[in-house]
Amino acid sequence: MKYAIILLAILGFSFAPQQYPNADTIIKNIDDNMYSNSLISTSKMTIYGKRNNRTITSKSYTQGSTKSFTEYLAPAREKGTKMLKLEDKLWIYSPSSDRTIQISGHMLKQSLMGSDLSYEDMMDERELTDIYNAKVTGSEVIDGRKAWVIALTAKVTDATYAKQKVWVDQERYVPLRQDMIAKSGKLLKRVTLSNVQKISGRWFPKKMNYKDMLKQGKGTDFEFVSIQFNPKIPVHIFSKASLKK
């Protein structure tokens, strides 16, 4: 009898449902790591082409989720190109033609500088908790790190991606992989995050690879050279006048 009870207890523990943490808490922790009130960063974007690769250096200023200013510093062909995002509008200034054009509508689907990122990928900087309902569906190991697997389902009608699947480092609350999925279930884009470092008290992935899963190729690498969280950014940076300076 005693042995039966012990056996039952062992079996009971085996079949008891695994306790996953609350997905919303995980997402909130991710948002705390990944988002800040303001951000100044210098980054390198490597675009892998069929015949050659290109590396573009840029400096970005971000205020909340609605304002962003980027200036391209290298190579010479891209130097001086600037982008300004205010709310849902995006402008690009080209020094070669000395013109500022607004990118909107279908143009947002165009690739950013020939990369696997599109302009619309940059536009939606709302926090994940604002857009998705989250549910932890499992646990996997990614690059030697234990990660929660979280399924995100859009709770707003205007989310760009109906579903996402995110692998989150269980210890650091940093996404290690993010799959963007269409309504039909087709995998559209994959972001692989790596080189996670502690910066200003938060864990942050300094390298990201964006891959359009519908296209051939190696995708685009995005590497942060330097990051400052919550710096004070002059207001005039986020104005159309700063595009032509």
């Binding site: 509508g105 689907k109 009608t157 269409a182 039909s184 519908l214 296209k215 051939q216």
Partner: protein
Amino acid sequence: MKQAIKLAYRNLIGAGLRTWLNVSVLSFSFVVILFYNGLIDGWNKQARRDTIEWETGNGHLTHHLFDPFDPYTILDGHASINDLDVSDLNPVLVRQASIYPEGRMLTVALKGIKPNQSALKLPTQMLDTNCTEIPLLIGQNMARSSGLRKGDIALLQWKDKNGTLDAADAIIVDVFKTTVPTIDGGQLYTSINRLWEITNLKNEATFLIANKDYNGSGNIENWVFKTQDELLATLDKVIATEKASGSIFYILLMLIALLAIFDTQVLSIFRRQKEIGTYMALGMTKSQVVKLFTIEGLMYSILAMIVGCTWGIPILNYFANNGIPYPIDNMDDFGISISSIMYPIYSLKLILGTVIAVVISATIVSYLPARKITKMNAVDALKGKLQ
């Protein structure tokens, strides 16, 4: 007058080679004018017919925010057609999409149209299929540039009405051949019902194509009606420009021919001063002599037209029946309808107009040097004294 014509004819024939050289050049100009204008007229008629059959139908009822030349207007340029009488109208919904043939991305305009429509020559009946993939109809140019063929499956990506991305496999059900590039390059056609389903834009349209029984002609709230002529205005302007720019060639040719006649007349008057003096001594007035020489010049144009008809009619007739092949590698670059074989059309208006133009211009260039005769002294002319 009869006498003048007889004299003029005799003088011309008497001049021999000089006359036939002038007549040859003038006849060549005459035939080239007819050929070129006939070609343009034929192209115009063909292009209009093809554009009506493949694109415009009997007119378009277009959403007031949609501009077919501005892709930015696709996003908001559509509305519900529930309040419209669509019995003689065929709705078309346009959305931006991307297609991925063999891992490459192409941005396209995805147009939903009724499979059973009869307003256009598009083989839309091929879209009436129950396949799980999204059926697509593409033009030959699109097929060439995308590398897609009938039966190929490629991934199609689009956004629904809220801007959420979606993607699914699509199958090419047919590839159509058309001379109208504006409905071919960068465009995919699918069943409008399927497009409504995948975009959640049920019963919405960007524009509606009127079939030949459509009686409405005015605008309706939020919709602007464009007649066939309004839709063909761009085509007409391009062809008029082509006609004008091409006319430079045959005008130059005509000028050369007329210059030759002018020079011949000047030389003729100079050399025949004694003859002119004789005519005056015999009682002809100066104006009658001027008329004689002018008629000689006019005879050049008559002879040129006779010679031109002799060798030109068989050639022009051959081209009118068999057409002229026009090899175009990429019709999209041309922007308007142009067939691979063009059939010239020689209307009565064109022929009469050309005849009148040649006759009048030859008469004028003959008259101008002949005016000098009115200043001649009859006695000096009779003596053969140079004036």
